[in-house]
């Protein structure tokens, strides 16, 4: 096993077997389980299977038609039909309500056709399914004079589909599916991995200075190998996080699908966007890690490095805060500039991909710019390490670093 792998393995084991890392690993499934559980709980608490009564003084339900299973609700699959019981008078309906036979009843007064007003009477607030299904039920009966297929179509309502020009992405009026939001989730995942790994990269170098192990290390292994080994180890840590979280998220999706959460039913996604996100994310990762290594070698303590590096984290996240600009004009000049700029490219392209297809040339230029910057920063990181590694308690300034490159 050569030096690179020894350093990488030590760096990996040193961080991965810490309690804080294990907590980080399980934080995602905990969060997912909690979110799904909370969603299922809230949804189930809003559903009441008891029948609903009605008193039809207006004669709307002259010949009763049962509401069809229409997909006008977000969770129609789980919205089991409830029974509707007709009462001849309000007294009968009230008695049934008091006896707990029904959860609520609706009163269609004699002047309904003039006022179009319906009263809902209940003791405890009925489930959301009651109003939803009674609405469909009533709508269908109001359309009973129409041919059944027209009545059904009218009851189903409108569903506006927004389709991309190439037809590969469709958003219905129910909102984007999980698959459509996948590029954004990937971008956020990459960003999170970059932020996590950056912290490790920063402390990997700054720590060696702080605990005074650097000088012994560089008399055993060249600074270039040391730093490459560390970056390999840190990347492996990042990939461990990403891989574990991906597995956890996939498991979460599978469970959600089993539970019938419709948002996870359509997982179709546009692979061009996935590839574009990967293409931009990998050099963005390399660039940030190299930069954090350089900063780690320049500062005196990890804490000091964290304050300097926060500037670059803000740059990474900045596009999120001005996302309204991309919604209004995804091809605007600001979006293009930020897509081509290091640090902002990943988030900007991820955001723009939600609302448009980012032209391939912009992806290529962005990747090219980031690769060039990453290579330059790796070179700078090596020099920074060489000059700054033994400056205990003294910060290496950018001016000092650039002014001394020729003598490093």
């Amino acid at each position: 096993m050569n030096f690179l792998w020894r350093v990488a393995l030590f760096e990996y084991r040193r961080n991965v077997f810490k309690k804080s890392f294990i907590l980080l690993l399980i934080s995602v499934p905990t969060f997912i389980t909690f979110s799904i559980g909370l969603g299922v709980f809230l949804e189930s608490s809003e559903v009441n299977p008891l029948p609903v009564g009605y008193v039809d003084e207006a004669g709307v339900f002259a010949s009763v038609l049962t509401a069809p299973e229409i997909a006008s609700t977000w969770n129609a699959e789980n919205d089991e039909g409830i029974a509707f019981i007709a009462y001849l008078s309000e007294d009968e309906a009230t008695a049934a309500l008091n006896d707990g036979v029904i959860q609520a009843y609706y009163l269609l007064p004699q002047d309904y056709f003039e006022t179009r007003r319906v009263e809902q009477i209940y003791i405890e607030k009925p489930g959301k399914n009651a109003a939803r299904q009674f609405y469909d039920f009533m709508q269908l009966n109001l359309l009973s004079s129409q041919p059944p297929e027209f009545a059904l179509r009218a009851a189903t309502g409108t569903d506006v589909l927004v389709r991309s020009i190439d037809g590969k992405r469709v958003v219905s009026s129910d909102g984007p599916t999980f698959g459509l939001l996948m590029p954004l989730f990937m971008t956020m995942g990459f960003l999170f991995m970059i932020l996590m790994s950056s912290g490790y990269a920063l402390s990997a170098v700054a720590d060696e200075k702080e605990i005074r192990t650097m000088e012994v290390l560089v008399t055993s292994i060249s600074p270039a190998r040391l730093i490459t080994g560390k970056i390999l180890g840190i990347t492996a840590i990042g990939l461990t996080l990403l891989f574990t979280w991906t597995l956890e998220i996939l498991a979460g999706i599978a469970v959600s699908r089993q539970l019938g959460v419709s948002w996870f039913m359509d997982l179709s996604m546009d692979w061009r966007i996935i590839l574009a996100t990967l293409a931009v994310g990998i050099p963005a990762y390399a660039l940030t890690i190299a930069l954090m290594t350089a900063i780690g070698a320049m500062v005196t303590t990890t804490q000091e490095g964290q304050s300097v590096s926060s500037i670059f984290f803000i740059l990474h996240l900045a596009p999120l805060y001005i996302s309204f600009i991309f919604i209004n004009d995804p091809h605007g000049s600001l979006g293009v500039i930020l897509s081509l700029s290091p640090f902002t490219a990943l988030m900007t392209i991820g955001m723009r991909n939600l609302f448009t297809i980012v032209p391939p040339w912009q992806i290529f230029v962005s990747v090219g710019v980031q690769i060039v910057c990453a290579l330059g920063t790796f070179w700078l990181a090596g020099r920074s390490l060489r000059l700054g590694m033994l400056r205990y308690g003294q910060r290496l300034t950018w001016r000092g670093l650039l002014g001394r490159l020729d003598r490093a």
Binding site: R14, K18, E215, V216, V218, T219, I221, S222
Partner: protein, 300 residues
């Protein structure tokens, strides 16, 4: 071929001339003292010697030529600014550092077990380094420096934080290593340890070598102007003596330039003074250090 040959090296950082002109050779199997006041350039000299810094001018030959990756595994270095990974166990920390010196894992484990036993650290091997006392960490650093059985050992202040028992342990270890043919370069401010252990020294001040050579010769060189006399009676006034002082329970007579110890002994015996002790006063290394640094460069 000497293991270390430093020839007229100079190293500056911006406007600061850390090392201006330093030359010395270290011979195989000796303990060599690299001495100097704070800020004299010792650490920069060591770092340049070990190829951590490139010299602005001059040349360094180590183990027969320029530093290579292969040679790094034959050198043990314990710098002044030193530390260990605090959040891992002692055993894992030392095995990792040994692995960077290309020691096979089984061999490293075996040697480590022996060293831990010798340094009374065996029962602490599974503790995190941060749980160990400063003295224990110091001993662990010494183990880390020696675990790969280096040919050349460079140690900066090896005795700091050690109690008298462990200090003796480290000194014995250094003597053992010297007997085995290991070359040791030691930098310390504890001059009595240098007197006890070192064969030869170089003294650096203001980035320049100001004193260099065999320790016994140097001390001899700086002696000759004084004698130490102990007598149960009061010493008479003697011609050829310019200063009388009490030193180590004896009387130190500093002689005039034209006087010799033989002249003084002759006068004392002539005057029938009872003598319990009469010897040429050899200055301590501390005294030589202060004298040389204060007075400037002295060539031996």
């Amino acid at each position: 071929m000497n293991p270390v040959n430093v020839s007229q090296i100079a190293k500056s950082f911006g406007e600061t001339h850390a090392v201006a002109d330093v030359s010395f050779e270290v011979q195989r199997g000796e303990i060599f003292g690299l001495l100097g006041p704070n800020g004299a350039g010792k650490t920069t000299t060591i770092r340049t010697m070990l190829d951590i810094f490139k010299p602005d001018k001059g040349a360094v030959s180590i183990l027969g030529g320029p530093m290579t990756d292969e040679k790094k595994a034959r050198i043990g270095y314990m710098p002044e600014e030193r530390g260990l990974y605090q959040d891992v166990t002692l055993e894992r920390c030392l095995l990792y550092l040994a692995s960077l010196k290309v020691v096979p894992n089984d061999e490293a484990r075996q040697r480590l077990a022996e060293y831990l036993e010798r340094f009374d650290l065996a029962e602490h091997k599974n503790k995190k380094v941060k749980e160990l006392s400063k003295g224990m960490q110091q001993k662990a650093q010494i183990i880390s420096t020696l675990l790969h059985e280096p040919e050349l050992v460079v140690i900066d202040e090896p005795f700091s934080a050690l109690d008298p028992l462990n200090l003796q342990l480290v000194k014995d270890l250094m003597c053992d290593l010297r007997q085995q043919g290991v070359t040791i370069i030691m930098s310390t401010h504890q001059m009595h340890q240098v007197e006890e252990l070192c064969d030869r020294i170089v003294l650096i001040d203001n980035g320049r070598e100001v004193l260099y050579g065999d320790l016994a010769e140097i001390r001899q060189r700086f002696s000759g102007h004084a004698v130490e006399v102990r007598s149960p009676e009061e010493l008479p006034s003697l011609p050829g003596v310019e200063q009388v002082a009490i030193h180590n329970g004896a009387v130190k007579l500093t002689l005039t330039a034209d006087s010799t110890p033989q002249d003084i002994l002759y006068q004392l015996t002539t005057k029938k003074v009872i003598l319990e002790k009469f010897e040429i006063a050899i200055p301590s290394l501390d005294e030589i250090f202060i004298k040389v640094v204060e007075e400037g460069r002295v060539k031996v």
